[in-house]
């Protein structure tokens, strides 16, 4: 009952000096606002990343070579291979051979639906007069399309005959068709295109057109966006004059496998004997789950670091609140004396001022949340993500601003509560 009266009182005293209250709240508003803005962007980003990873296939296990390091741990913390296939030190003998993959397929044929292999030829440009399109050319095997679900709009996938004949055929995105053939898909089919990759020209016939799905990562403009184009793996090998063997491949697990991570571990175990004697490389696996997790961890770490810095402004805001509470208590010394003369207990006085400080911070916090979410949502939208409401962050922010109110209001309120009634009444 007294608490409601205190809340009413707190609001009326804040409203009595609106400008002062607003300026004091500004610290809290900016502090909470920036934390919430960052959290909004981060949770939008995390959502985008995990949906795009999930789209890439939750059942996929990527198997790849990883350089052995001093403190080599065999955990599947994703994202740390892939670049290793470009290191000069990788020898042909280090690479994963066709035989190994065949052995794996035979041994685990119940668990493996398909083995997708891809090898990048490089990024290049298709040019025809003033028309151009950026593509990243990848050599893929037949099974590749089992790991990566593409929506075929026209034509066909790369098939076994393309691979065995090392044919110069290519599957491009509808973006390419838009840029090069004014979007006319049937006209584009079986057309020849010239691709310039690292100043070498390659010619391919278009056999398939798939629908390009925007991922959370793209940042280029519509026109310039680089889309993947797929050619037979054998063709890519020949054109790149690459070594035999592969640096990575993707296993599409059958739906019978319920624990993808455990299955990934057993693949690592399978490769152990092959790489036991290899000083430089070992096999490591990555699942979408672990990728999403490690990406999420990364985003979270960065977010927490930034939020922490933003949180420092909260500290400054809190000090502002404490300052204004001290001023307000000095101004209202006689009122405190009067209240005590009328029978207010020390605890009632304390509660009154702590409530006031909490309300001040809470109102500031709520403004901050609104401001922060708005800014964060705008930023996320501009970056091309769907804005996500960071519920936990909002709850934490509300709780945190109340805590700031209690923490920084406690000392002034206690000071007020301890005032001697006579000294307070005599105060001029």
């Amino acid at each position: 009952m007294l608490i409601w009266e205190n809340i009413r009182l707190a609001f009326s005293s804040l409203l009595a000096s609106k400008m002062r209250a607003l300026l004091t709240m500004l610290g809290i508003i900016i502090g909470i606002g920036s934390v919430i803005a960052i959290m909004t962007i981060s949770s939008s980003l995390t959502n985008a990343v995990s949906t795009s990873f999930q789209e890439m296939g939750a059942n996929n296990v990527t198997v790849g070579l990883k350089e052995r390091s001093e403190d080599s741990t065999s955990t599947r913390s994703g994202m740390n291979f892939g670049s290793s296939n470009k290191t000069a030190s990788m020898e042909e003998s280090d690479r994963i051979t066709e035989d190994m993959i065949d052995a794996l397929k035979t041994q685990m044929k119940d668990q493996i639906d398909a083995v997708a292999i891809s090898e990048s030829l490089g990024s290049g440009t298709i040019k025809d007069g003033s028309d151009y399109a950026n593509i990243a050319v990848e050599g893929v095997n037949e099974d590749y399309f089992a790991s990566k679900k593409l929506k075929l709009l026209e034509g066909r996938h790369i098939k076994a005959a393309d691979l065995s004949g090392s044919k110069n055929v290519i599957m491009v995105s509808d973006k390419v068709v838009e840029n090069m053939f004014e979007g006319d898909k049937s006209k584009a089919l079986s057309e020849k295109i010239n691709v310039n990759i690292n100043s070498e020209y390659y010619s391919y016939y278009i056999v398939g057109i798939y629908k390009y799905e925007e991922t959370g990562f793209s940042s280029s403009t519509e026109e310039d966006v680089t889309t993947s184009a797929y050619i037979p793996l054998t063709t890519a090998k020949e054109q790149a004059r690459a070594d035999e063997g592969y640096s990575q491949f993707t296993v599409v697990t059958s739906t019978d496998v319920s624990d993808v991570s455990a299955f990934a571990d057993s693949i690592e175990t399978f490769f152990l004997p092959y790489y036991m004697g290899n000083k430089d490389y070992q096999i490591t696996t990555t699942t979408m789950e672990s990728m999403t997790e490690s990406m999420g961890d990364m985003i979270r770490t960065v977010t927490i670091a930034i939020a922490f810095i933003a949180g420092i402004s909260l500290l400054v805001g809190g000090i502002g609140v404490m300052n204004i509470m001290l001023v307000s208590i000095t101004e209202r010394t006689r009122e405190i004396g009067t209240r005590k003369a009328l029978g207010a207990k020390n605890s009632s006085i304390k509660l009154q001022f702590i409530t006031e400080s909490v309300i001040l911070c809470l109102v500031g916090g709520i403004f901050g949340i609104i401001l922060g979410f708005t800014l964060g949502a705008v930023a996320a939208t501009l970056l091309g993500y769907t804005a996500a409401v960071p519920f936990t962050a909002i709850l934490v922010a509300v709780g945190f601003s109340m805590m700031i109110g209690i923490f920084f209001g406690y000392y002034p309120a206690n000071k007020a509560a301890k005032l001697h009634p006579i000294d307070a009444l005599r105060y001029e």
Binding site: L2, A341, G343, I422, L425
Partner: protein
């Protein structure tokens, strides 16, 4: 004049009050005051400025503790009471009226009167009803929702008296309640005190600089330099 069988509500015995002003100096303001006030008595305290009237009043009102001496208020040993108990005494047994009104700024007359009841934990409806009744009694029924800064001195003092009466205390302490008012308004206030004494049977201790007003009470105590210099009967008989 107090009746023979009425109880003593205020019993001060050999009250000494010293203030510490700087380390070596001790300022003794009250030098051993003995005073008894009976239930239902209307007492006035007079004396020149600085004689210690307010200091004594603060001790009577449990706002301050004496340095030496004993004080029993309605059976409670005030000197040994803790802060919480003192708050309760001030809330339940005593109603204060100050020279400078001391209304809570930005609050309406009504919420000012409700304040002591709020601290007593009385329900909202009850508070509201009682505050209205009291404001009507002091003739402020028309201005209940006015903020305290919108009231004249006399009006403020009437609100303050209503507030002092909120928890129906047995003792009303008034420190120069007419000191800031013109004589006509002072008269109105004084009449309210007479009514509280006569109709409600309140014990009233009243500090004043006006000999005429003091004469209207039952007993006049004159303080001089922190000691009771004189005690005489006033004109009021009962």
């Amino acid at each position: 004049m107090p009746k023979k069988d009425s109880n003593t509500v205020i019993q001060l015995s050999h009250i000494v009050k010293r203030f510490f002003v700087g380390k070596p100096n001790e300022l003794e303001i009250l030098h051993g005051i003995d005073l008894e006030v009976k239930e239902g008595e209307f007492l006035s305290i007079v004396g020149e400025s600085g004689s210690g009237k307010s200091t004594l009043m603060n001790i009577i009102g449990a706002l301050d503790k004496p340095t030496e001496g004993g004080y029993i208020l309605d059976g409670t040993d005030v000197c040994r009471a803790k802060d919480k108990k003192l708050s309760e005494i001030r809330n339940q047994k005593i109603g204060f009226v100050f020279q400078t009104y001391n209304l809570v700024a930005r609050s309406t007359a009504l919420s000012n009167v409700e304040l002591p009841m709020l601290y007593a934990g009385i329900s909202k409806q009850e508070r509201h009803a009682r505050a209205k009744e009291l404001l009507e009694m002091v003739g402020m029924g028309e201005r209940m929702t006015h903020k305290s800064d919108e009231l004249s001195g006399g009006q403020k003092q009437r609100v303050a008296i209503a507030r002092a009466m909120a928890n129906n205390p047995s003792i009303i302490l008034a420190d120069e309640p007419t000191g800031s008012l013109d004589s006509k308004t002072g008269r109105v206030i004084m009449d309210i005190f007479h009514r509280l004494h006569h109709e409600e049977g309140k014990t009233i201790v009243f500090i004043t600089h006006s000999p005429e007003l003091a004469k209207e009470t039952q007993r006049i105590v004159t303080l001089s330099d922190g000691m009771i210099a004189d005690e005489r009967k006033g004109d009021r008989v009962c």
